[in-house]
Symmetry: C2
Subunit: 461 residues, 2 copies
């Protein structure tokens, strides 16, 4: 066991990023001596239309969050100023931290609905307290990694570059979203802060305003190529794409004369399939087959698949708004629910909001063709199948080693490759989750005990 005096890391301190009711419930549990051990599952109830799987993301941050909970002096002063809490409770918060255990599914793992991504067992005050923050972390990042995985799959081996900073929902979304898309297989991002923070490869081209700042397009191209003789990606559609390609070819030839190479061109408007074919031919006819073609313009997985189907000659797609916001999905239905406490396993029976009871594990069934389905089961029920939930926090301390982002990305791509084809179609069906015999038995038992036929049990937020 690691020393409990370990210092918290301010970088990971999101203690105040919580809903007020987490604190009022916490205070009431404390005040009513209701602090026995309890277990909560974090899982996603439903799958967005046409999606086949989720990619778990945010798990590393979730561990950092849980293991660094601490109310600072100024936090406590703010809470005291609200005149909601007793002095005794505020005193209790001074040393409040997470001392329980957390199991999690590795970041970058494809999963389906009702699969516990995180399982927390701790004193009730502590386990309940994590809810809002864990959901804020996991819901967004898992959604973005999942959306990005669809886009990467649609690109069928061509590069996806994340371009969404200007449309991301704030700074954190831009940076964590770039990380999530990288996990799912994007090759890089335009976001410099994400590159600096996570070591994600950064890339960029140029804006139309750059071209328009010079009297002619070719002067703009030449100036840029002068500054970046080996890394220029020229934007060729400001005035007319094919004329732009001609100018880019002139500049590429000039670069060659000086021992340099034009890296690529970007097209951001018009018929991307047609234009990319024509531009490819023009460059190839001039011995410039090494020049890459990058396209952008409100892309998503459907448009990319269509471009592929039309035989577009595209090396890389820059994808912005729809990848970084998962538009039109915008939010997924991740929830955090109590599944067991000192009173035994808990079940929720309301329609569409069913929660599977008890301390559970997820097992993955693999055949020679790859992954066939997962089984939601009582923890320990299977001994020969691969369990997905691994212990990452013990006695409030991280026990999992911090994984390299590149390793998470490679792992994710390998895992997605093993998923059944039906989960990866544009109009996919969700990857299958079966319920184990023992868990079905427990559900039946508890349904009979608490539910009957018409017991109106509801569990919202």
């Amino acid at each position: 066991m690691i020393s409990t005096t370990e210092k918290t890391n301010d970088e990971y301190n999101k203690t105040m990023l919580t809903d007020l009711y987490q604190l009022t419930m916490n205070a009431a549990y404390y005040d009513n001596n209701k602090d026995e051990m309890a277990t909560f599952d974090l899982f996603v109830r439903t799958m967005p239309e046409e999606w086949g799987y989720y990619i778990t993301a945010g798990v590393e941050e979730a561990v950092d969050y849980a293991t660094n909970i601490k109310f600072t002096k100024s936090n406590l002063e703010y809470l005291a100023s609200q005149n909601i809490f007793s002095k005794e409770y505020l005193e209790f918060l001074k040393d409040f931290k997470f001392e329980g255990e957390m199991y999690a599914i590795k970041e970058g793992t494809p999963i389906t609905t009702n699969t516990p991504i995180i399982r927390v067992t701790a004193k009730r005050t502590q386990a309940q307290f994590l809810e809002s923050t864990l959901l804020n972390i996991i819901n967004y990042q898992t959604m973005i990694a999942s959306k990005a995985s669809r886009i990467v799959h649609a690109a069928d081996g061509k590069d996806i570059v994340e371009f969404g900073l200007r449309r991301a929902q704030g700074e954190d979304a831009a940076i964590k979203g770039a990380r999530a898309t990288y996990i799912a297989g994007a090759v890089g991002t335009s976001n410099v802060a994400a590159g600096e923070k996570y070591g994600i490869p950064i890339s960029g081209t140029q804006a139309h305003s750059y071209i328009m700042s010079f009297p002619t397009e070719i002067e703009a191209f030449r100036s840029y190529a002068k500054t970046f003789p080996n890394s220029s990606v020229l934007l060729i559609d400001t005035y007319n794409t094919l004329n732009g390609a001609k100018n880019a070819i002139i500049v590429a030839k000039e670069l060659e004369e000086n021992g340099h190479k034009l890296k690529g061109v970007r097209i951001d408007s018009g018929d991307l399939a047609e234009n990319s074919k024509k531009v490819r031919e023009m460059f190839d006819n001039n011995g410039l087959d090494y020049v890459k073609i990058v396209v952008s313009n409100d892309l998503n997985e459907k448009k990319i698949m269509m471009l592929n189907a039309e035989g577009a000659k595209i090396d890389a797609y820059g994808v912005g708004t729809e990848m970084i916001t998962a538009k039109p999905v915008a939010a997924i239905s991740g929830v955090y629910k109590i599944v067991e406490d000192n009173g035994g396993p808990k079940i929720k029976l309301s329609e569409g909001k069913k929660t599977y009871p008890g301390m559970k594990q997820v097992y993955r069934v693999e055949t020679e063709n790859g992954y066939n389905h997962d089984i939601l089961a009582i923890d320990g029920e299977y001994t020969t199948l691969k369990p997905l939930l691994e212990k990452v926090v013990e006695d409030g301390h991280r026990i999992s080693s911090r994984r390299e982002l590149k390793a998470i990305r490679e792992y994710c791509l390998k895992e997605v490759a093993k998923l059944p084809a039906y989960t990866k179609e544009l109009s996919a069906r969700p990857y299958e989750l079966r319920i184990s015999e023992k868990l079905e038995g427990l559900v039946d038992e508890l349904t009979e005990k608490y539910g009957g036929g018409n017991y109106d049990v509801h569990q919202g937020v």
Copy 2:
């Protein structure tokens, strides 16, 4: 003029939150001595379906961002490690900062499309550099304030409380989003961090897991009321809403015996209109007309308007996912475009991506019935109309005083009240923007000069 040696404030330093191409273009402008003055407008091209206006938000943060740009030593080391930039350029970045001027429309102002929210005039390297970050700040916050304004309007005087933390797209979205909804008229948020940071009133009720942690519902209610005798909002729908109401009435009476008052009850499922009416009647019949009814459950402006139409007896709506993500809109089309430089006013003529040229101002036309329309005009064109763009940054320094959040909120509510009714319907038409005579003249002149009938001018990102 304020001293240019003023220290930057790390809290506002988002310098690295930019797209790589802002840096490569910056380097090329620097390398090619292309650093004359230029003016850029930040505006939103289109209005989401059924929306009638935008509420400007994020402006205060935009000013803080622009006036605190600074590359730290470690930022520059990271950039050097990328092997993209010359030593000379990295040396130039050491002292790079914004030294230009910025005009902005006050935060909380209702506006329409094509209205410059921010106008920047500076050396080209500096003016261009702001693009990605300003858009990241303004696009999200303006979208959320606008969505929240629709929801507040639908609630027709009843309270809207922001409940979206768990579904917000990351931490920044949760906190800045809560601020934007407050500006638009929400009365508070469940987000404690947003309360602490901005002084927004915080509020909360309890979760179903709290109720289920006790053997019976009434024990759960009693325990909570014991801890919060004057501020309890009891969640009454865990098992059966009307039974829950009965239990809450018992507890309310017990509180009265001890000189306390139950604050409210919350319903989070079922037919909210029907249940709220029945629950209201039950409480009123027991002399408990002071107990408030709060509802929640995937609410949005349409559901709230419908509840009002059905005569629901609701005092406050807790609104989560759809307000904090603006689902299904998810992103608005804010852009940042060059409108003038040493070569004169710039125009973009491509269909759907038109940009109005020149240094402009927005004037508001008010009649005895309120605001009638705005006029996009050449700066200084009108002397008797109220200009919306105000100078907030001069020589790189904030010259506008920092506005109190409460004052911004009050201002916003007053301004929205003056908008035409057609902009505030559920299916609204956008508030009208007219183009001034002089600006139309400039457009015609430049169209003739650069455009003709078939000039394929395009301006994407």
